[in-house]
């Protein structure tokens, strides 16, 4: 029994079958990659996991509880954090404030009327945020406006915002999309470090095979809205069905 269980999930957009009968089981403390060609339904599946979309059929359970019908903030409070394809951060706020908000969310829950406290006086929270920024090597940028960060730094900041909540499951939607090779390698190192330093489960959607094969312990290959195969990276590399559907001629 995995920490995340997806059973028979289907989703239609009008006449288009985006997902049909998806079964997926992500084991605790593993890195699970979901790969597949464009339009395979990877992002739709992710959106069903975080409450952005509600599947037409099937069930999604996380740590034994159903996530269906819950709002995104409730699902986050259960312990699922998500990194988006393009970094979603608070661009009008400073780097420090960006990390403080998830710290408050973790301590105070989804709403608290703390209108007469002062952010600077919340020493525990500030220390926590500073430690996180130090971990991702952004402490010197803490007073910068997040909008002025480089793309790589924005990605790192978003990752820090997710990690500071100490989620049980981290969902990554193409964490290296549009990155140069050097940045991609930095991201891989960062993710490896994260994985090594704490108990965490990761589900990664990724196009870059280099990233997938250096991180993943299990791989699910999706095509046309349904999982094709699920196996270890070594077996996936040589799987004929996968080569045909996804890796294609480019891999030869």
């Amino acid at each position: 029994m995995g920490i995340l269980e997806v059973n028979g999930v289907g989703k239609n957009f009008g006449g288009l079958k985006a997902l049909s009968n998806v079964n997926l089981s992500v084991k605790e403390n593993t890195v699970h990659a979901i790969i597949g060609p464009n339009g395979a339904g990877k992002s739709t599946l992710l959106n069903c996991l975080v409450g952005k979309l509600i599947p037409d059929t099937g069930t999604v359970t996380f740590a034994g509880q159903s996530v269906l019908g819950r709002k995104p903030h409730q699902i986050n409070q259960m312990g699922i954090s998500r990194v988006f394809q393009t970094p979603e951060i608070f661009t009008h706020l400073t780097v420090m404030e960006n990390v403080l908000i998830p710290c408050f969310a973790r301590r105070d829950g989804s709403f608290r009327m703390h209108a007469f406290e002062t952010v600077a006086n919340e020493h525990d929270i500030v220390e926590q945020a500073e430690a996180m920024l130090k971990d991702v090597k952004m402490l010197d940028k803490r007073h910068m406006l997040a909008a002025n960060l480089s793309r790589g730094d924005k990605r790192r900041l978003e990752m820090a915002m997710c990690l500071v909540q100490e989620p049980k499951l981290l969902l990554l939607d193409e964490p290296t999309a549009g990155m140069a090779r050097a940045d991609t390698n930095n991201t891989i190192d960062l993710l490896k470090e994260i994985k090594a330093s704490r108990p965490i489960t990761m589900a990664i959607i990724e196009h870059d095979m280099h990233v997938v094969f250096s991180l993943a312990e299990r791989i699910t290959v999706m095509a046309q809205g349904t999982p094709l195969v699920e196996d270890t990276p070594d077996n996936i590399k040589g799987h004929p069905k996968v080569r045909e559907a996804y890796l294609g001629e480019a891999q030869v």
Binding site: V50, N76, E88, H92, L93, F111, T118, A120
Partner: protein
């Protein structure tokens, strides 16, 4: 001090000093001089500065922090005024219960309107609030006449019960007071050619404004305020960070509604009558103008904007052709007449044109409002000392 850091404390103290010495600062010209008409230091106008300042400070908590543009805030102002006048009619001429009730009623009203309107964001939210405010205005005008006295407006009457006050034996309407100190009483201080009015009404408003301003500074610096700014910046990320943005925006809406109710209550406390026109959409638009003109999202900006607009409204509108002729009397006749003709549309009843042009200029060249203008000016002076040391070190090298 008071939970503020050093910079905010200094800032707060400056505001306190300015607010308390406003009757002197706003009367820079001797009473008999030509320029006396630019003096703004009379109680009526100063009260309006401060009361609309409170209104704008509250509006800024919603619009400046969360970015939700409400076009119906005047409804809360009007509701506050009606509540206060009813308190004067039924309970007592003391302004404390009136002001408290106006805040409570406006807060409840904001809770209902906010609960419905905040289901949408952006333009739809603005339209919903506008619709609610217009509905309130029209109802105050027509169906709710028993409560609001329709077109005439709600006024005091001699035979009102006023259960807490002693029976009114005089044959004139009682006046609003704070434990006996009448709002309209004032002390005039004549020094040289100058004449300064210190009125009870103004100081009551000023102290309440300072409390309101202090509260807004605390909200800006609190985790709550940070969440509100996060709503404006990226609501999606906020939701995926485990924060439910709805109660935060609703709380901000209710708080700013209570500020508006407080302002409405104070208006009634200074002059105990309430009319439906206070709820009209032009009044809602005015507070939007004030906030943007001064600088949305800044602490002092909305207050500056409110002061600026109220100053224009009361001072520019008083200048007429005759005064212009006096100013240009020294010029040759043809030039004098041309200048007066050219300036005519901008003064007197045309003050809206002047205000409109200023607003356009501010929005185009200073999107951050008057506060941005101030920051740019101080920035110019700050850069100079930095440039000097480098200029002196260069020759040494």
């Amino acid at each position: 001090m008071f939970g503020l850091d050093r910079k905010d404390t200094v800032f707060m103290l400056i505001v306190v000093v300015i607010a308390l010495s406003a009757p002197i600062l706003l009367n820079p010209w001797p009473a008999a001089s030509q320029m006396a008409q630019f003096n703004a230091g009379y109680p009526d106008l100063m009260q309006r500065f401060v009361v609309y300042g409170i209104f704008a400070i509250g509006f800024n908590i919603l619009f400046g922090l969360t970015g939700y543009l409400s076009f119906g805030h005047a409804a809360f102002l009007g509701v506050g005024s009606y509540a206060a006048v009813w308190m004067f009619k039924l309970l007592s001429m003391n302004i404390i219960p009136a002001i408290l009730l106006s805040m409570v009623v406006a807060g409840l009203f904001a809770l209902v309107i906010g609960y419905v309107s905040l289901r949408r964001s952006g333009i739809y939210f603005s339209i919903l609030t506008l619709a609610f405010a217009q509905m309130s205005f029209n109802m105050a005008y027509s169906v709710l006449t028993p409560l609001t006295n329709g077109e005439t407006g709600l006024q005091l009457a001699l035979d009102d019960p006023r259960i807490l006050d002693a029976a009114n034996t005089t044959n004139s309407l009682p006046v609003t007071n704070l434990f006996g100190a009448e709002m309209r009483s004032s002390v005039t201080w004549n020094v040289g050619g100058w004449s300064f009015d210190f009125s009870v009404g103004y100081y009551v408003c000023a102290v309440i404004m300072l409390i309101a301003f202090y509260t807004s500074v605390r909200i800006f610096r609190s985790p709550f305020g940070m969440m509100l700014r996060a709503v404006k910046s990226n609501q999606q990320r906020l939701n995926y960070t485990g924060i439910n943005s709805r109660p935060y925006t609703l709380a901000a809406f209710v708080i700013s509604g209570m500020y508006a109710g407080l302002a409405g209550g104070l208006l009634a406390a200074m002059d105990p009558l309430a009319g439906a026109e206070r709820m009209q959409w032009t009044a809602s638009g005015e507070v939007v103008l004030m906030t943007i003109l001064g600088g949305a999202g800044t602490l002092i900006g909305p207050f500056l904007g409110a002061g600026f607009i109220k100053y224009c409204e009361n001072i520019f509108s008083k200048i007429n052709d005759q005064i212009l002729h006096q100013w240009f009397a020294l010029l040759p006749d043809w030039l004098e007449n041309t200048l007066v003709t050219v300036l005519h549309p901008f003064i007197g009843k045309g003050w809206h044109l002047t205000l409109g042009l200023i607003f356009m200029l501010v929005v185009v060249f200073l999107p951050g409002g008057l506060v941005e203008g101030w920051n740019r000016i101080t920035g110019l002076f700050r850069r100079k000392p930095k440039a000097k040391p480098s200029a002196t070190t260069e020759p040494a090298e």
